[in-house]
């Protein structure tokens, strides 16, 4: 269902949000909290407040530097603003399984971190 909402075209439908082949928003201005939830759902995630604080931190980082941070830098940033308990790869892996920097950026409506393999 959610896959259908994320159309990969220039669909003009009210819910049609254009994403690239990997599921990142083509137009960053399309992002909203609802869109974030839809993206998360398509990745099998239900967003909790713990997810949201990471998503917001990522958006703030992007707002300032116009680049999505790589994993190591994300960990460092989370540590600085949310404390060392959350500032660990393990914590972020639990929230965003697989590749946290990439997945969280996708949900935050940001480009893929360029320096992530």
């Amino acid at each position: 269902m959610s896959k259908r909402i994320l159309t990969d075209s220039q669909s003009q439908s009210k819910h049609g949000i254009s994403v690239d082949v990997e599921g990142y928003l083509r137009n960053l201005d399309d992002w909203s909290e609802q869109v974030a939830e839809v993206i998360a759902e398509s990745e099998g995630l239900q967003l909790t407040s713990e997810h949201w604080e990471i998503v917001r931190l990522l958006r703030d980082f992007y707002q300032e530097y116009k680049v999505s941070p790589a994993m190591r830098i994300l960990v460092k940033q989370v540590k600085n603003s949310l404390g060392s308990e959350k500032g660990s790869s393990i914590y972020l892996m639990k929230l965003f399984p697989g590749s946290p920097a990439k997945l969280a950026s996708k949900i935050a409506g940001l480009p893929k971190p360029t320096n992530c393999l």
């Binding site: 300032e64 530097y65 116009k66 680049v67 941070p69 790589a70 994993m71 190591r72 830098i73 460092k76 940033q77 360029t114 320096n115 992530c116």
Partner: protein, 122 residues
Amino acid sequence: MTDKKQSILAVLTKPPYGGTTAKEALDAVLTAAAFEVPVSVLFMDDAVFQLLPEQKTEGIEVKCLATTLPVLPMYDVEHIYVDRKALVDRGIDAEQLILSVQPVETDTLRSLFQNHSRILSF
């Protein structure tokens, strides 16, 4: 000075727009830094123009490099050098730049090339 055994010197010589080299250099530096490879950056020649403030790129529809360059310290890239001659030739004051950089004279510049194990030229 970083350990020569495993350090990169990225030598930047191109201006920020009008080509993609400056952007590619920044991506490469950030990638190396993301993997904790010690990397130093040296701005020479027209690359010092990358450091000018008040770059507004809406009119040419490309991403503003001056917005992203200040992320370097966040990536633990702390050795950022700039060829003082390049600044002087262009009438640019090191104090007005968007990044805190270390202006170097020719002797230091030469030693930078010797003191790193790998050189990436952009």
